[in-house]
C-alpha cells in the first residue's frame, strides 16, 4: 500500500513534465508574444522587440520551457505580467478558497445522494422528487442556478448575503453564510450525477443474495440498507468523485465569478483576459496535481471499502 502510494507520487513527476510542456507550448503558440498584450495596442514594433528580448520571449519555445521549469523547480513561477506580483503571492491565497468550496460541495453532494437514496424513510418521502432534482442539477447551468439562488435567498428572502467572501477569522457564522449559496450551486451538478450513478448501483446491490441473507439474520431494513447495500453502491461514486475534481475547477470558475469569490477560478479568468502567461501556467499545474492527488485518494478510499481490490 505505502509502496504503491510512493510509486503513484513518483509517477506524477513525468506526468507533470509532459503536461506542463504541452500546456506551455499550446498557450504560447495560441497567445503569441505576451509583449504585445502587455504593452497595449499603441506599442511600436521596436518596443515589443525590446520587451521580447527583456523577458526572453524571442528564444525558442523549448529553451523558454526549460528555463521556466528550472525556475519552477525552485518554487519560482515567475511574476504576474499584470500585477507584477510573484505568481506564488497571487495564487496561494486563492487556493484555500477554491479548495474549501470544492470539498464542501462534494461532501454535500455525496451526503445528500446517500441520504435521499438509501435511508428507507428518506427514500419513501423524497424518492419521487429526487429524479427531478437530479435532472435539474445536471441540466441547469451553474451560473443560472447561482443567480437564481442569489435572487431567492439573498434578494427576496434576505436570509443570506448576496456575494463575497469572509474568512473564518471574521466569525464562523459570517463565513458559512457567505459560502452556503456557492457550495449549493457547485454541489447541485454533482448531486445530479452522483444520484443517477448511485441509485442504479443501489438497486443492483439490493437484488443480490446477501441482502436476503442480511434480512434473514433479523436485521432492520435500515441496517440492511446502510450496512449492506450502501457500501456496495457507493463504490462507483467514490471513483466518480476522484474523476470529477478536474471538471470541478471549471464549475468553480463560473461559481466564483457569480459569487465574487477570491478563488483560483476567478484568478484564472483574470489571467486569461490579461494573457497573464505565468499565472495561467501555475494554475494549470495546480489543476494537474489536484486531479492526480484526487484520483490517488479515491483509489485509496475505494480499496479500503472493497477488500477484493488491493493497491499494489
Amino acid at each position: 500500500m505505502l509502496s504503491h502510494i510512493t510509486r503513484r507520487i513518483l509517477l506524477m513527476i513525468p506526468n507533470v513534465i509532459a503536461m506542463t510542456f504541452l500546456l506551455f507550448a499550446t498557450v504560447s503558440s495560441f497567445l503569441g508574444s505576451p509583449a504585445a498584450a502587455m504593452l497595449g495596442q499603441e506599442a511600436s514594433l521596436e518596443e515589443i522587440a525590446a520587451l521580447n528580448k527583456q523577458y526572453g520571449f524571442d528564444r525558442p519555445i523549448i529553451v523558454q520551457y526549460l528555463d521556466w521549469i528550472a525556475h519552477a523547480l525552485r518554487g519560482d513561477f515567475g511574476r504576474s505580467y499584470t500585477s507584477q506580483q510573484s505568481v506564488a503571492d497571487a495564487l496561494l491565497p486563492t487556493i484555500p478558497v477554491t479548495l474549501e468550496l470544492s470539498l464542501w460541495a462534494i461532501l454535500l453532494a455525496v451526503v445528500a445522494t446517500v441520504l435521499f437514496n438509501s435511508v428507507p424513510f428518506a427514500r419513501r418521502v423524497v424518492q419521487p422528487i429526487t429524479t427531478t432534482l437530479a435532472v435539474i442539477g445536471i441540466t441547469i447551468p451553474n451560473f443560472m442556478l447561482g443567480i437564481c439562488l442569489i435572487f431567492i435567498f439573498a434578494v427576496k428572502l434576505r436570509w443570506l448575503p448576496t456575494t463575497g467572501w469572509v474568512p473564518w477569522s471574521a466569525g464562523v457564522g459570517a463565513h458559512l453564510s457567505h459560502i452556503i449559496l456557492p457550495v449549493v450551486t457547485l454541489a447541485a451538478n454533482y448531486f445530479g450525477s452522483f444520484t443517477l450513478v448511485y441509485r442504479e448501483e443501489y438497486k443492483a446491490a439490493y437484488r443480490r443474495l446477501f441482502i436476503k441473507v442480511a434480512r434473514a439474520k433479523g436485521l432492520s431494513e435500515t441496517r440492511v440498507s446502510l450496512v449492506h447495500a450502501l457500501p456496495n453502491a457507493i463504490l462507483p461514486v467514490v471513483t466518480y468523485v476522484g474523476l470529477s475534481l478536474g471538471p470541478l475547477v471549471g464549475g468553480a470558475v463560473v461559481t466564483e465569478m457569480v459569487f465574487s469569490m477570491p478563488g483560483v477560478g476567478r484568478l484564472f479568468v483574470g489571467a486569461i483576459g490579461a494573457h497573464d502567461f505565468p499565472v495561467m501556467l501555475a494554475i494549470g499545474i495546480l489543476v494537474i496535481f489536484g486531479v492526480m492527488v484526487a484520483n490517488l485518494v479515491s483509489d485509496i478510499v475505494y480499496t479500503s471499502i472493497n477488500r477484493q481490490v488491493s493497491l499494489g
Partner: protein
C-alpha cells in the same frame, strides 16, 4: 477428507417419529402466487407441512416445483417482493413459548423471529456473503441482532461456532473477507451464522447443491451431527434424493407447486405410490449399478409444467406412463396410503410400483 465420499451414511434412527414429538411448525394451506405479465401465477398450491421438534424433513422436487418458495415464505422474505401473494397459516412455536403465525405477524415481529427462531442457509455460498464485510463482522451481526452481548462475549461465541463447524484458525477466519474463502468454507460460515442464535428450525435451501461432492458430503455430515447435538428441526430443501436418504426422517415430494407424496424416508424409498416419486428414484445414478441385471438409468420424459401452464387433471399426467383418461380429467386429492404416507394419485392402489431395492438395501 476423501473418505467421506465413499462412506455410506447410516439410516437416521428416528424414522419418522422423533422422540420429542411436539409440533414445532404447523404450515397449513400455503399458497403463493406471483403476479406476472398480467396474470396470477400459482407457484405453490395448498401445501400443508407439519414439523416436529428435532425432525429432519426433506422437501424434494425439480427446479420450479416451488420448494424454495416455501422456504422463503417461511422466512418472511417474500414480504419484500412486489406482486407476491402468500396465503395460509404458518404456526411456529417460538423459543419464548409463544406460537406465532409467521404470515400474520407484523414486519417488526417477523424481524425478531428471523434468525432467532427460524434460520436459513441458501444455495449459493459464493454470493450469500457481503463481499465488503469481514466474516467476523457478518456473523457477529447476526448474533447481536438478537442477543445483548458484550464485544468479547459475542466474539467468543462466534469463535465457538466457527470451531464447531470445523473451520481451521477461526480467529484468522473472522478477519478474512469472503473472497478469501473457498465455497465449502463459506457455506460453513453461513451455517455458523444460521446457528449462532440457536434457532429451533433451520431451513436448508439446497444448502449443499452448489458444492462439489466431497465438500457436500462433509457439510451433510456436519449438519447431521449439529442436528443431533442441538436437536433443531431441519427443513431440507433439495432435489437430490441421495441426500434425502442420508438426512431426512420424512420426505415430501413436490410437483408443480403441490405435494404429491409424503412419507417416512424409508417408506418412500421402499414403496413409492406416486409414479412421479418412482420416476425420481429411477433417475438417481448409482455407482456400479450399470452391471446390475435389469438396471437402467432412466430420465423422466417431458418437462415439469411452468407455473404459467395449466394442466387439466393430475399435473403429472402428461409425463406419466400410467396416465388414463381419468387422470387427464380429475385432479386427485391427497389420499392416505397408510399412516403418515399420503399420495396424490388416482391409481395408486392398482399400481404396484415397487421400491428402489438396492437403494433401500444399502441403507439397511
Amino acid at each position: 477428507m476423501t473418505e467421506s465420499t465413499v462412506k455410506s451414511y447410516p439410516m437416521p434412527v428416528t424414522g419418522g417419529s422423533p422422540s420429542d414429538g411436539e409440533t414445532l411448525l404447523d404450515l397449513r394451506n400455503l399458497s403463493v402466487s406471483y403476479h406476472m405479465a398480467g396474470q396470477q401465477v400459482r407457484a405453490v398450491r395448498n401445501v400443508d407441512i407439519n414439523l416436529k421438534s428435532g425432525e429432519v424433513v426433506a422437501l424434494v422436487g425439480e427446479s420450479g416445483s416451488g420448494k424454495s418458495t416455501i422456504g422463503h415464505a417461511l422466512m418472511g422474505l417474500l414480504r419484500y417482493e412486489d406482486k407476491v401473494a402468500v396465503s395460509g397459516t404458518a404456526l411456529l412455536r417460538c423459543k419464548d413459548g409463544v406460537t406465532r403465525d409467521l404470515f400474520a405477524i407484523s414486519d417488526r415481529e417477523m424481524k425478531r423471529v428471523r434468525g432467532n427462531d427460524i434460520s436459513i442457509v441458501f444455495q449459493e455460498p459464493m454470493s450469500s456473503l457481503n463481499p465488503l464485510h469481514s466474516i467476523g463482522h457478518q456473523i457477529t451481526e447476526a448474533l447481536l441482532a438478537h442477543r445483548k452481548l458484550r464485544r468479547n462475549e459475542a466474539r467468543e461465541r462466534v469463535l465457538y461456532y466457527l470451531r464447531r463447524l470445523g473451520i481451521p484458525n477461526p480467529e484468522q477466519c473472522m478477519a478474512r473477507y469472503p473472497h478469501q474463502l473457498s465455497g465449502g468454507m463459506r457455506q460453513r460460515v453461513m451455517i455458523a451464522m444460521a446457528l449462532c442464535c440457536e434457532s429451533k428450525l433451520l431451513v436448508a435451501d439446497e444448502a449443499t447443491t452448489a458444492l462439489d461432492a466431497t465438500v457436500q458430503a462433509q457439510i451433510i455430515d456436519l449438519l447431521k451431527s449439529l442436528q443431533a447435538e442441538t436437536g433443531m428441526a431441519i427443513l431440507f430443501i433439495t432435489h437430490d434424493l441421495g441426500v434425502v436418504s442420508e438426512m431426512a426422517d420424512r420426505a415430501i415430494v413436490l410437483y408443480a407447486g403441490q405435494i404429491v407424496e409424503t412419507a417416512a424416508t424409508r417408506d418412500l424409498f421402499d414403496t413409492p405410490h406416486m409414479p412421479y416419486t418412482r420416476a425420481l428414484l429411477e433417475a438417481i445414478p448409482r455407482l456400479g449399478s450399470s452391471q446390475m441385471k435389469g438396471y437402467e438409468l432412466r430420465g423422466i420424459p417431458g418437462r415439469a409444467p411452468s407455473a404459467f401452464e395449466r394442466v387439466d387433471g393430475c399435473s403429472f399426467n402428461p409425463r406419466c406412463a400410467y396416465a388414463t383418461e381419468a387422470c387427464r380429467a380429475t385432479m386427485p386429492e391427497l389420499d392416505m396410503a397408510k399412516r403418515e404416507h399420503l399420495v396424490r394419485c388416482l391409481r395408486w392402489k392398482e399400481l404396484q410400483l415397487g421400491g428402489c431395492d438396492e437403494f433401500a438395501a444399502a441403507r439397511r
